[in-house]
């Protein structure tokens, strides 16, 4: 079933809006022509289906329908915004009037800069239907996962397997004449296992997905890998000892531990913080902020990835932005507003949680590029340290640069060998300083399985992270052991 719909046909079919009406709404938003205002309308229509299989049964299948639009007016560094949950011409007009009130508080500015024109991508070509498919195949998958986890070890006492399938379409109309549609699939599978032995209880989890369809989890037995990973983490933790406390060498595994990069440098390089001078990285372009081994990239164009987008939420095609090259700070992540004000143009990183929110500079898929060492060499090189592979999330104080990221489990390295399993602990460092201590970079660069969600100023967006195995010296590990 192939539907070829132009953006105007889509808006007409879905909301009964004509091109003349859109023109009129943008006209109200822009107001008098001499202010140099930019305006856009962001339409979002979609459905998310959620299934949870827990304690051996399917619980409360759910669906969430989203339909709305936001009108934005930007004049220099000022933004007016208003949204409606019920899209029609009248409500859009009201939203445009509300957004336009920002002009009362603005001086005239030069019109926004338009970045270099890039072509939109086609990173997640999907033709079929994602939503409303029969339940059985999906429930069967969740049941197989439940079985697989319990088969792993009889100490696995509960399994929670969840599946989320989202099909969303956004249409962006701008006062610069853009009219673009992007259909964005997003699926995610999560597995969590509870292991019990005596009075001790531990959980392990694994998850993944991307801008793909449900079949993705059946290919290459991906579902089975998640099941086994979740079960093995939970079982491993049953015998884990206290994590050490203090400074030590840490080896991070490839893939999801790239959350380090996201926290340590990613946020600090977002354009809004740097334009305002509130980031620890402000005014550091051209300076050495990491060891020579570190090249860090934000790439929104990786096909099918959770953090990828054909166009960002301002209608700008995503790009591949080098943030740090061989340790030297090269660039920032920009949206239209901040990129325009800093005269750098948008890098295609303007993102928002939904039509209820204004866009901001955000990451897409952010990773540390691969190096020369094998993972084995890296582990072997450590006399005493920690090998951390599974992580929860992290956080950063943009201004002083301190970041944390939390291992959910780890293994001690003693004399170059992996020995005891240790409990999770938070790792802490300082963004502009700690990456100078990256002393080895592996040749096994991998992006994560497709599970991350990033929060900023109350807005959540799906992102990817990535990294090869790396060694960092002098990392502070927040355990309770001596």
């Amino acid at each position: 079933m192939k539907e070829l719909t132009t953006p105007s046909q889509y808006l007409s079919k879905t909301f009964g809006l004509t091109p003349a009406q859109l023109e009129k709404v943008l006209g109200i938003a822009i107001g008098s022509r001499d202010k140099g205002a930019f305006s856009d309308i962001y339409f979002q229509v979609g459905t998310t289906e959620g299934l949870v299989y827990d304690q051996g049964i399917l619980k409360n299948p759910s669906r969430s329908d989203v339909s709305g639009a936001g009108v934005r007016v930007v004049i220099g560094d000022k933004t007016g915004y208003s949204y409606t949950d019920h899209v029609n011409f009248r409500n859009l007009t009201t939203a445009a009037r509300n957004a336009a009130t920002i002009a009362l508080h603005s001086q005239a500015v030069e019109p926004v800069q338009v970045g270099p024109a890039r072509k939109p991508h086609n990173l997640y070509p999907l033709e079929g239907v994602l939503i409303g498919l029969p339940l059985q195949e999906k429930v069967d998958l969740l049941m197989m996962i439940d079985k697989e986890c319990r088969k792993y070890d009889p100490r696995i006492k509960n399994v929670t397997a969840s599946l989320s399938i989202q099909d969303e379409t956004v249409v962006i109309v701008t006062s610069l004449g853009d009219l673009i549609l992007d259909r964005r699939p997003l699926v995610r599978l999560g597995v969590s296992c509870l292991a019990e032995e005596g009075s001790r209880r531990e959980t392990g989890s694994s998850s993944g997905g991307g801008r793909v369809d449900f079949e993705f989890f059946l290919e290459d037995d991906r579902w089975k890998k998640h099941a086994q990973k979740a079960a093995s983490e939970a079982i491993g933790l049953l015998s884990a000892v206290e994590a050490p406390a203090g400074e030590m060498t840490v080896v991070l595994g490839n893939g999801w531990p790239g959350v380090l990069i996201h926290e340590a440098v990613g946020h600090g390089l977002e354009g809004d913080f740097n334009r305002k001078g509130t980031s620890a990285f402000s005014k550091m372009i051209g300076q050495k902020v990491a060891s020579d081994l570190c090249t860090i990239i934000d790439d929104g164009t990786v096909p099918g990835r959770r953090g990828s987008l054909n166009i960002d939420d301002e209608g700008v095609p995503t790009g591949n932005t080098v943030l740090i090259e061989k340790g030297v700070l090269k660039g920032y992540l920009q949206d239209r507003t901040n990129g325009g004000l800093m005269r750098q143009g948008s890098t295609g990183n303007g993102r928002r949680e939904s039509y209820r929110n204004v866009p901001m500079p955000r990451m897409t898929n952010t990773y540390l590029a691969g190096g020369q060492s094998t993972p084995e060499e890296i582990i072997k090189s450590v006399k005493r340290g920690l090998y951390a592979v599974t992580f929860g999330g992290g956080q950063v104080d943009i201004t002083n640069g301190d970041y944390t990221f939390s291992a959910t489990s780890a293994i001690l390295i003693e004399d170059g060998k992996l020995t005891k399993a240790v409990k999770g602990a938070t790792l802490i460092g300082n963004g502009p300083k700690s990456l100078h201590n990256v002393s080895m970079v592996g040749n096994d660069m991998a992006l994560d399985e497709g599970t991350g969600t990033c929060g900023k100023r109350g807005q959540s967006v799906p992102v990817g992270v990535g990294m090869p195995t790396i060694r960092i010296d002098g990392v502070t590990v927040g355990g309770t052991g001596r």
């Binding site: 208003s82 009130t101 509870l194």
Partner: protein, 442 residues
């Protein structure tokens, strides 16, 4: 406003009727609508004006026997709602029964809907210019406080007014209005190489009870200045004094693992601990859904059950979990009003200064970061910064350290509870001194 209420109550009943007509054995509907304005200023100038004139959301649950399915939508047209209900029934017929699923029993539904004084209509009289003026004066109080305060992340005034409606097929129909306003400010100070940010905020259901712009700006200034020149702490085991914001955060994490859903799934360190000592004998945790004007107050919960005052921890003993009807059935007990409302630790008698005086060498904790809390084991390990205490005095700021322990052990080792309880949000605590935690640093 009255009109809205009648219209949305009728809409809720329409959905319930449709569910019944299309084959549901039970159903319930929650509707919320809101309007809000957020004004942000930065460096003395307007930066952002955000308006939601007609925000809305409807959630419907449909039961077919012991099968339950849920949908959420913002499309309130009757045609669309019928379609949603129909699709839920199709899914329900293909899904599996859950013997514990179901609406609350009739005797557990609220029979009276108390007026908890949750809505302030005086906010609607404020103009956008008034709101901008408040945000501006808040920021300028901070920027003018000290020359080292030289940058800002902005100050905001926000207000919202909303309506909540809940109806179910067992005859419950209730609704209430709620309002909220808040003023916040986040600023930057610089001294040599050290750049720090901090902020302060005030939130209330009533405009008249909001902190003054000057007081918020000045408090933000005091908080950012005391972070300047922070050094790394060193690894050691010491007492940690949690300031009220940090203590409230810890309380919130504790509450999260006291939810019935975590208990019946056995993913909580509070499993099988009812009636047992889980904290020091001086510690009492209360949840009060009926507090007049409280930020977390509600006349009934999302299942139509009456709010009440609950004791969660009674002089150190775990007294109750947070139980909705599903968890209660699963655990073979009665529901008690579901999720948390206004949650607080009962204050003690010492001032924060007196508590700090009791510490010879330790940490006064003002910030934590990262997710590092495992609710299954209680293991706690987080990035931290604060002020080092030497000989009972706040001596110098520290950063880039971690604090670690186990929440159960931490609460048992609470040595002091302050007298400084203040409801700045729906979760509140006085200052707490924890006997000993592991600090990792240089």
């Amino acid at each position: 406003m009255k009109n809205d209420k009648a219209r949305l109550e009728a809409l809720a009943q329409f959905v319930i009727g449709e569910a019944k007509r299309l084959g549901a054995t039970d159903s319930d509907v929650s509707i919320s609508t809101w309007s809000s304005v957020d004004t942000t200023v930065r460096m003395g100038d307007v930066e952002k004006l955000e308006t939601a004139a007609q925000g809305r959301s409807l959630t419907v649950r449909v039961f077919v026997g012991k099968v339950v399915t849920t949908a959420n939508t913002s499309d309130f047209t009757r045609r669309a709602l019928t379609k949603v209900v129909r699709s839920l029934i199709v899914v329900a017929k293909a899904a599996q029964p859950d013997e514990f699923a179901g609406l609350p029993d009739k005797e557990d539904l609220a029979s009276l809907i108390p007026d908890l004084d949750l809505a302030d209509t005086s906010m609607s009289k404020l103009s956008v210019a008034d709101k901008i003026a408040m945000a501006k004066s808040c920021e300028s109080a901070a920027l003018g406080f000290d020359t080292r305060i030289n940058n800002s992340q902005g100050a905001s005034f926000s207000d919202s007014f909303g309506l909540t409606v809940y109806a179910n097929s067992r005859g419950f129909l209730g609704s209430y209005n709620g309002s909220r306003c808040s003023l916040s400010c986040s600023i930057i100070a610089q001294q040599g190489d050290s750049m720090q940010t901090d902020g302060w905020h005030t939130s209330n259901r009533k405009l008249a009870n909001l902190g003054s712009p000057d007081s918020i700006g000045q408090e933000a200034a005091r908080r950012v200045l005391r972070r300047l020149g922070a050094v790394r702490g060193s690894s050691q085991e010491v007492p940690v004094v949690f300031d009220p914001v940090m203590a409230a955060q810890l309380l919130g994490q504790f509450a999260g693992v006291a939810y019935g859903s975590a208990i019946h799934r056995r993913t909580s360190f509070l499993v099988d601990k009812l009636g047992e000592q889980v904290a020091c004998p001086e510690l009492t945790i209360i949840d009060d859904g009926l507090m007049p004007g409280g930020l977390g107050s509600r006349p009934f919960n999302g299942e139509g059950q009456a709010s009440r005052q609950r004791t969660i921890v009674d002089n150190g003993v775990l007294a109750s979990y947070f139980l909705d009807s599903y968890s209660a059935r699963k655990l073979g007990t009665k529901p008690n009003g579901g999720s948390q409302t206004n949650l607080y630790i009962k204050p003690g008698t010492k001032t924060p200064e007196e508590i700090i005086k009791t510490v010879k060498n330790g940490l006064y904790l003002t910030h934590v970061s990262g997710p590092g809390f495992n609710g299954v084991t209680g293991d706690y390990s987080r990035g931290a910064s604060g002020i080092w205490i030497e000989n009972g005095e706040l001596a110098y700021p520290v950063q880039e350290i971690t604090i670690a322990g186990n929440v159960l052990a931490m609460l048992k080792s609470v040595e002091e509870i302050g007298n400084d309880l203040e409801f700045r949000s729906s979760v509140a605590s006085p200052t707490l001194k924890i006997g000993s935690m592991m600090i990792a640093g240089k």
